[in-house]
Symmetry: C2
């Protein structure tokens, strides 16, 4: 069973993930990304999708045109775990490269 | 300027789109799709994304694991147009083929 982060652990991890915030009323983290257009946004999503499948850890996400809203949580642990933090760091890296 | 469908036109078109419904409080249409897993769901989304880009008409959509929620509306016309109906028919076809 994967370990759910304590509030302190989560806060420490979030301090290293610029733009990510705890979701109100849920043990989850969220960030919104804006890209130049749909092509960039969906290219970004595709890279994240392949990584998510590899990790067997999938995001909750919403897309409209150039905007992507991503929420991460670990359903098995009913909260944020190291898996979410790892995926968030991957997502940050891909977003930065996508936007150039 | 693309023509916004009247309520009657929209109802007629929706009657031919099983599972699609008018969204409450918005001039938009919605359907939820369930696939076997994330692989199927994201493969479906990829086909829809390519078509949407070709049409220059993009969905609002939410995905978590095997579920995809799609809302269609035409922002330029502030309502449902023939573009939404055309994209919905394409989406239905791809969903059926994806699920086999």
């Amino acid at each position: 069973m994967i370990h759910k982060l304590t509030s302190e652990e989560r806060a420490t991890q979030l301090s290293q993930l610029s733009g990510w915030q705890a979701v109100t009323g849920r043990d989850a983290i969220h960030r919104q990304f804006k890209f130049a257009d749909f092509n960039e946004a969906f290219g970004f999503m595709t890279r994240v999708a392949i990584k998510a499948q590899e990790m067997n850890h999938h995001p909750e996400w919403f897309n409209v045109y150039h905007t992507v809203d991503i929420t991460l949580t670990t359903h098995d642990a009913q909260g944020v775990t190291e898996r979410d933090i790892a995926l968030a760091h991957f997502i940050e890296d891909v977003a930065k490269r996508t936007r150039g």
